[in-house]
C-alpha cells in the first residue's frame, strides 16, 4: 500500500514537514471550534459526555501546539472523538470519521521523521482522494443525478434555491417549486439542459478530480478544481466544518506548503463564527 501511495509524493526533495505543520494547526483549530460551535446553541442541555469531551478537546487542541506533547495530545483527541462518535452513532456526520482518521494518523506518525512524515502526508492525501471518489461512486450507485432528480428535489431547501434557480428554465423552476416536495409530489425529473449538465458533471467531477490529484503533472489543477468544487458546494450546503477539514487536506497536495497566513485566516473565520453563535457579531448560517 505504501509503495502505491508513493505516487502521491511530490518532488524527491519535497519536505513534507511544512505541509504537515500547517495541516495540523488548521486541523486542531477547526476541530476545537467545531466542538464549541455545537455546544453553544444547546449549552443548557449538553449531555455529560459532551461536556467532558468539550473540555478534553479544548485542552487537547491547545496541547498539540506544545513541542513534545503533540502526539499524546492527538491520541487523547482521537480517543475523545471516538467516544463522541460512538455515543452519537449512527447519526454521526461523515466528517467526524474523517477527523478521527486524521487524528489517529497524527497520533501514530511523527511528522518530523522523514519516513513517517512522508507516509503521514501520503495517507492524508489518499483519504482526500478516497472521499472524492467514493462520493462520485455513491451518486452513480443511487441514481439521483442522471436526470437531475436530486437538484430538483433540493429546491425546497432555501439555501439551494438562489444557487440552482439560474440553471432551470423558468417554467420548469415554477413547476418544481410549486410542489411541497412531500408525499405524492413529482415528478422531480428535469429537462433543463443546464441542470442536466451540472447534475451529471457533479459525479463526473468527483471521479475525475482524484485522478488529477494523483497524477503529478495535473496535481495543481486538481487542487484548484477541488477547492472550486468545494466552494460551490459550500455556497448551497454550508457544511462549514466538513469544508474546512477537507480543504485543509487538499492543500497537502500543493508542491509547496500554503503560506502560514492560512492559519490566521482560518482562525479569524472560526472566531467570527463562534462570536456569531453567542451574538457578538452577526451570526452565520451553517450546518
Amino acid at each position: 500500500m505504501n509503495r502505491l501511495l508513493a505516487w502521491l509524493d511530490g518532488d524527491a526533495s519535497d519536505d513534507p514537514l511544512p505541509h504537515l505543520r500547517l495541516f495540523a494547526r488548521v486541523f486542531v483549530l477547526v476541530l476545537g471550534a467545531e466542538y464549541w460551535a455545537r455546544a453553544i446553541p444547546t449549552w443548557s442541555q449538553l449531555a455529560p459526555l459532551y461536556v467532558w469531551a468539550l473540555g478534553t478537546v479544548t485542552v487537547g487542541c491547545a496541547a498539540t501546539f506544545v513541542p513534545g506533547l503533540a502526539r499524546p495530545a492527538f491520541a487523547l483527541l482521537a480517543a475523545t472523538h471516538a467516544a463522541v462518535i460512538a455515543a452519537e452513532f449512527p447519526a454521526t456526520g461523515n466528517h467526524a470519521y474523517l477527523e478521527l482518521y486524521a487524528l489517529l494518523l497524527l497520533a501514530l506518525l511523527r511528522p518530523a521523521d522523514p519516513a513517517e512524515g512522508r507516509v503521514l502526508r501520503r495517507s492524508l492525501c489518499w483519504l482526500v482522494c478516497l472521499v472524492l471518489f467514493a462520493s462520485g461512486l455513491q451518486k452513480i450507485a443511487h441514481g439521483y443525478y442522471f436526470q437531475g432528480q436530486y437538484l430538483a428535489y433540493s429546491l425546497w431547501i432555501e439555501s439551494f434555491r438562489p444557487v440552482l434557480a439560474p440553471l432551470f428554465r423558468p417554467d420548469e423552476y415554477a413547476r418544481l417549486t410549486a410542489f411541497p416536495a412531500d408525499l405524492g409530489s413529482g415528478p422531480f425529473l428535469v429537462t433543463s439542459p443546464a441542470v442536466l449538465a451540472v447534475s451529471n458533471l457533479v459525479y463526473a467531477t468527483e471521479l475525475l478530480l482524484p485522478v488529477l490529484l494523483l497524477w503529478p503533472p495535473t496535481r495543481t489543477l486538481g487542487v484548484a478544481g477541488t477547492l472550486a468544487m468545494l466552494a460551490g458546494i459550500e455556497v448551497a450546503a454550508r457544511e462549514v466544518f466538513f469544508g474546512l477539514v477537507f480543504a485543509n487536506g487538499v492543500l497537502l497536495f500543493l508542491p509547496r506548503a500554503a503560506p502560514a497566513g492560512v492559519v490566521l485566516a482560518v482562525a479569524a473565520f472560526l472566531a467570527w463564527l463562534l462570536l456569531g453563535a453567542i451574538g457578538v457579531v452577526p451570526a452565520m448560517v451553517y450546518h
Binding site: P90, L98, L108, S135, L137, D182, L183, L189
Partner: protein
C-alpha cells in the same frame, strides 16, 4: 519507520478504501442511509421530509387491534431512539428493546406491530412516495420475540 506502523497504516487504508463499496451494498441490501457510516454518500440521495412511526397491539382476550396513542415518556423516548436508528440503519435497526417495553407496559397485548415509514423519492419516476417497514413481535417469557409471519394485526 517501524514495520508495525507501516502495516497498521497500510492495513487501515486498505480497509477504508474497501469500505465505500461495502457501504453501497449495505444501502442497496438493507436500506442503510448513504448519508451516514463513513461511506461518503452525503448528498447522493435526498433526505426524507416525512418520518414517523405507529404501534399497534393485539388484545389477547378479544383479538382486536388497538393503536398505541399516548405512550409514557419512557416508551416515547425508546420509540424515538429506534426511529432514529431506523432512519440511518434501515433494516439493520431492530426495535427489540422498544417492543419489549411496549409489551411490558401493555400486559393485555400479546402481539404488536411496529410500523415505521418515511418519504422516499423514487429515482426512476421522480415521484415521492411512502416507504414503510413493519416489524412484528409477540410476547415471550423474556419480553418480546420477533416474528416473521404477520398474523392478525392489520
Amino acid at each position: 519507520m517501524a514495520r508495525w506502523k507501516r502495516a497498521l497504516v497500510g492495513g487501515g487504508l486498505v480497509l477504508l478504501t474497501a469500505w465505500p463499496a461495502v457501504h453501497v451494498w449495505l444501502c442497496w441490501r438493507y436500506d442503510v442511509s448513504p448519508w451516514k457510516l463513513a461511506g461518503w454518500g452525503m448528498y447522493s440521495v435526498p433526505r426524507p421530509r416525512t418520518l414517523g412511526m405507529e404501534v399497534w397491539g393485539r388484545d389477547a382476550a378479544t383479538g382486536s387491534d388497538e393503536q398505541l396513542r399516548n405512550p409514557t415518556p419512557a416508551l416515547a423516548a425508546e420509540g424515538a431512539a429506534f426511529l432514529e436508528r431506523w432512519r440511518w440503519l434501515g433494516h439493520l435497526a431492530r426495535p427489540d428493546r422498544f417492543a419489549a417495553a411496549v409489551l411490558t407496559t401493555y400486559p393485555a397485548w400479546d402481539r404488536i406491530r411496529v410500523e415505521v415509514y418515511r418519504s422516499h423519492l423514487d429515482p426512476r419516476t421522480g415521484m415521492v412516495h411512502l416507504r414503510r417497514d413493519d416489524r412484528y413481535y409477540e410476547r415471550a417469557p423474556d419480553g418480546a420475540r420477533s416474528i416473521d409471519t404477520p398474523g392478525s394485526p392489520s
